[in-house]
């Protein structure tokens, strides 16, 4: 009970922090540009953490996360823009937006199920190519769908997303995914990453768990897509391309495959870096791909590995360092004797 209580307290504390930041933004203490960047950071945290569930925790390889964000974005945009479509007209304003975001996530989850089932049944790398193809197909279908504006995109959405909304979503995503990992169901997913055959012989229905992880991740990607659409007030087929999937992948890799805190840190860092390097836009993707290659060559488990960043880890590493230094000193005195 105690553990649960402290978890809830922690959640509330973060929530209050987010709310305080939002108030500061409303009061004009943080300028609009920074507010926007911070909101984008929170949305990318959702994208990166959910992708980490597939690529890092479950050991599968998805290359189409942006595609699921697109599904969520378009679904929610259709709902908020048409007052009596899909949801009854009695839901308006922010309530409609919240419901639309949920439905966007559910639609993405459903599509994730359809895409994941045939490819996750198999061992091997089929998911990578199927999700890559899926991202392309979604883009082509959207380009040709006049109802949502075709190539020029879907415009004139109301700006429902503010920092607090995005922050709340990221908080929920992190909590749910972290809790999931720390459960028997999550351990089943991790066992698949470690050794699929052994997992199966230990009674883990591997296909089912791969699909579950994939569907959960797709759901959160969909909600992130909805947030993004209602922040930028538009969605176009170019908003969620393969390049975005690669950026999210880089966040996961940079933060460490399987490390939730790592993904959060990397999402914030890379969003910041993208803003700071605006002048070098043309070279950004070259830099990103080189980064991806070099991390894989020299740290195949990602920059930070599966290690979670925590106060405890920090303490451990200091202890290690102290021990190492002591040893060095001892070594010196020993050799002096």
């Amino acid at each position: 009970m105690n553990k649960r209580f402290s978890a809830i307290l922690q959640f509330m504390l973060f929530l209050a922090m987010g709310y305080a930041v939002q108030m500061a933004m409303d009061a004009g203490m943080i300028n609009r540009y920074y507010s926007h960047v911070m909101t984008v950071m929170a949305i990318f945290v959702v994208g990166a953490v959910s992708l980490n569930l597939i690529n890092g925790i479950c050991g599968q390889f998805s290359l189409g996360h942006a595609g699921f964000m697109a599904v969520g974005a378009y679904t929610s945009a259709i709902i908020t823009k048409n007052p009596d479509l899909i949801l009854p007209a009695m839901f308006t304003g922010n309530v409609r937006f919240v419901l639309a975001t949920l439905l966007g996530g559910m639609m993405a989850a459903f599509v994730g199920f359809l895409v994941g089932l045939p490819s996750l049944r198999l061992r091997g790398d089929y998911l990578a190519i199927v999700t890559l193809g899926f991202g392309e197909i979604i883009r082509i279908l959207l380009l040709n769908w006049d109802f949502v504006g075709g190539a020029s995109g879907y415009f004139g959405l109301v700006r429902h997303t503010n920092f607090f909304a995005a922050f709340l979503l990221s908080l929920i995503t992190i909590t749910i995914i972290r809790n999931f990992i720390d459960s028997s169901h999550g351990r089943a997913c991790i066992s698949i990453r470690e050794d699929e055959i052994a997992a199966e012989t230990m009674g883990v229905p591997t296909t089912r768990y791969k699909v579950i992880a994939f569907v959960i991740a797709s759901f959160f990607a969909g909600t992130a897509g909805s947030m993004m659409a209602h922040l930028t007030q538009m969605v176009t087929p170019a908003s969620f391309t393969f390049i975005l999937s690669i950026e999210l992948l880089l966040m996961v890799v940079l933060g460490g495959l399987g490390s939730i805190t790592g993904s959060i840190g990397a999402a914030i860092f890379l969003t910041y870096a993208a803003e700071a390097l605006r002048a070098f836009r043309a070279y950004r993707m070259i830099l990103y791909s080189l980064l991806l290659i070099f991390i894989m060559l020299f740290r195949p488990k990602g920059l930070l590995g599966t290690q979670e960043l925590s106060y405890g880890l920090l303490k451990e590493s200091f202890k290690l360092r102290a021990r190492w230094q002591r040893k060095k000193k001892d070594g010196i005195t020993a050799s002096a004797e």
Binding site: N55, G59, F61, L63, P118, S119, R121, L122, R123, D125, Y126, A128, I129, V130, L132, G133, F134, E136, I137, I140, L141, N144, I197, F242, I243, I246, L249, V253, L257, A282, Y283, M285, I286, Y288, S289, L290, L292, I293, M296, L297, P300, K301
Partner: protein, 298 residues
Amino acid sequence: MTISQQILQQLVNGISLGSVYALMALGYTMVYGIIKLINFAHGEVFMIGAFVGFFSITKLGMGFFPAMFTAMIFCAILGILMERLAYRPLRNAHRMAALMTAVGLSMLFQNLALAHSWIGASAKGFPQVFPLQRFQLMENVNISSDRILTLVIAIFLMIALQFIVHKTIMGKAMRAVSFDKDAARLMGINVDKTISFTFALGSSLAAAAGVLFALNYGIVVYQMGLLPGLKAFVAAVLGGIGIIPGAMVGGLLLGITESAVSAAGGSMFRDAVAFAALIIMLLVKPTGLFGKNVREKV
């Protein structure tokens, strides 16, 4: 134009398009067969091949065949370098590390092309190197000279590949390494050299496919490798990944299906066909048309 004429016409178009896919699929399948890696950068090798051919013709004033040959040599070297620098260090690492590196390479090549002052974002017209002629096979069924050329070159390269794989020492080594790397090493086969050779072979075929693709469609652009790459991979899966004749048949099959769908009025869905084919294949027979059921050693 009767239905049967229409079908024949699409068959003709499909076979020529499919032969390009087949050439590319061979590279995927050979690399997968030997190191169990989906080489995501294969589509970009195709793109680079097309550009090397393009610049050999427009900047160096070469003829078509020398240009294609140059592209093949260039990409063979590129393939060797790629394997040596990016994939070999990861051969014993986690499977995903190599896969992500491949994705990284694919992005790198695409964006280097985009940033290069000779290439850039806009599509460029591939010169009409041979005067375009149309031949009538029968009433209402035509084939252009470029298509005939494509088909002839593709068939020639596939026969050459079969010869290399089945009649040369290097081909025998390739088959041995793809069957069992460790046993091959014990038999005195230079595994590293064999893998390098496989990359060179696959990449040069992709380059040839790129040049032929550019010749047929008349354009070169930095993103041209993405969709054909994806489709060629599907072709490889259709035929059974790792199986060389499978890639040829898969390529032709996909080319024909795609032509048929776009003729039936679904040109918008043309690109979705390959994807649907992949999903259906994975559901029905994931090992592909020619695949045998091989399970992981436990």
